[in-house]
Subunit: 288 residues, 2 copies
């Protein structure tokens, strides 16, 4: 891929072979398993839609890579998904959403939706007192992506952020209701105790599977914002507005793709979806 191109010329345009049709699947991608919470939210919100999921597990984590590398990976992910003739692409990854969403929209001909915009809008609408917390990986918190998005939507917001690195491995270990997870969450969320936030953004696609524990630690007065649910609502609105809701009475289909470690993906996916997955295929993308 040529990175010496002109600033406004997309590196390549990902064209699909036919105009979007309502029976086409929705494509979802992430660097790993975290995006499965977005898959789950879409499945729940749009139970008649066929879904395709790509986890680029060979190149995980994206969070520590340079912007150029993340864009290149994301374009390769989107090209693969687009080749499956999807009608929309959901970026189920906070890092890619904050770094590469614009470039993907330039390159793709179907709608591309990220998690940060919908999550931020929902948080800002939800908060009454204007005090909002954000938790995420070190990379997402350092990027300030949620802060910037929320600040642009409402004046006078007070935003408090905190990286919670251990929550991802705890989620992947499947310790959803484990006492250790409660203790770790209590320790991380202690910082929010005297900040009077009324809304907390789960700024990492892994966190919704720890929602129960996080809610118990924060108490019922604090609303948790699940960006996956927020983007699922936006996808539903968009498909409805464009007449692209699937109408077929035939059963929906689902297909999962990974770039490495299929066995581990299958195991962790069961924690995330609460059920086994069937169609899982390992594919190759770019040169790793």
């Amino acid at each position: 891929m040529d990175f010496n191109r002109q600033e406004n010329e997309p590196p390549f345009t990902i064209r699909h072979s036919s105009p979007a049709n309502a029976d086409a699947p929705i494509g979802i991608f992430d660097s790993g398993v975290g995006g499965l919470t977005v898959f789950r939210a879409l499945e729940k919100r749009l139970p008649n839609e066929s879904l395709i999921y790509l986890g680029d597990t060979a190149r995980i984590p994206y969070g520590t890579r340079s912007k150029e590398t993340i864009e290149r990976y994301a374009l390769e992910d989107a090209a693969f998904i687009q080749a499956k003739n999807v009608k929309a692409i959901v970026i189920a990854c906070n890092t890619v959403s904050s770094v590469a969403a614009h470039r993907l929209r330039e390159a793709c001909e179907v709608p591309v939706l990220g998690v940060i915009g919908p999550g931020s809008r929902r948080a800002v609408q939800q908060s009454r007192n204007g005090r909002v917390g954000v938790i995420g990986t070190e990379a997402t918190i350092a990027s300030g992506a949620y802060e910037k998005a929320m600040m642009s939507l409402r004046d006078g917001l007070k935003i408090i952020s905190r990286a919670c690195p251990l929550l991802v491995p705890l989620a992947e270990e499947g310790w959803m209701e484990h006492p250790v997870t409660r203790q770790v969450a209590t320790e991380y969320l202690e910082d929010f105790r005297h900040t009077e936030i009324d809304t907390l953004v789960l700024g990492c696609t892994h966190y919704p599977i720890l929602k129960n524990v996080i809610q118990q630690v924060m108490g019922d007065a604090v609303s948790l914002i699940d960006s996956g649910e927020a983007v699922a609502d936006v996808v539903a609105e968009r498909l409805c507005a464009e007449g692209l809701m699937r109408q077929s009475a035939a059963p929906r289909s689902e297909q999962f793709y990974v770039t490495d470690s299929a066995r581990r993906f299958r195991k962790v996916a069961e924690y995330f979806l609460g059920r086994p997955i069937e169609s899982l295929e390992t594919i190759e993308l770019g040169q790793l």
Copy 2:
């Protein structure tokens, strides 16, 4: 790099400009911060030696990559280290030691030492009842590298392995004596309770910083094997045998290199070395 070469022809030979001299530093590399426990062991065992450390933090983790990719990364790491005119190279990473040590020995003109051989030999010598436990990352345990190495050294061994994925993020979070770490270790090591092992291999370079907790959970009857300490002994023997011990009375030097995230490396390195590090530089390796 050409991977279509003949089986016995090294992909390239890493030549150093002058014959090894006793005042040259020892080079150490890892995919990230874990190898700092090996650095610490070398520093303690050989306090007069100058040390160079490379953490390939931009391409971490190596554990989920293909064999070809790990070899390519390791050759690039070793070429960088070798260009600093080191007198020996220590692979401070279990994944690289198990996958690429042979190829590195073909390509380098100075001695290359991995952690798995020395760790395995020490475990086999130490165990009286022939029942040995191994803990490590999912990749290391799945590779069976320690099992194979130990089995080749002694007949009739009984080896029990267990992946402990949460121990790495806990170590990197600096929760060395945290109640959560004790609870996680207790849960993982529960499997060993009725196995009567008398020796436990810490098969991940991160684990030595959690040694106190692991020892308390296992009890004093079980010997913990730190592969970093084991390889430090082997390096000392080798330098001594080849007349390459540093004799200079001038202070030793140390230099750290990373390929990304220097700020995070500096923070985590303090937990691992128990002191601040000074000379840290970010460099580029290959195309990421």
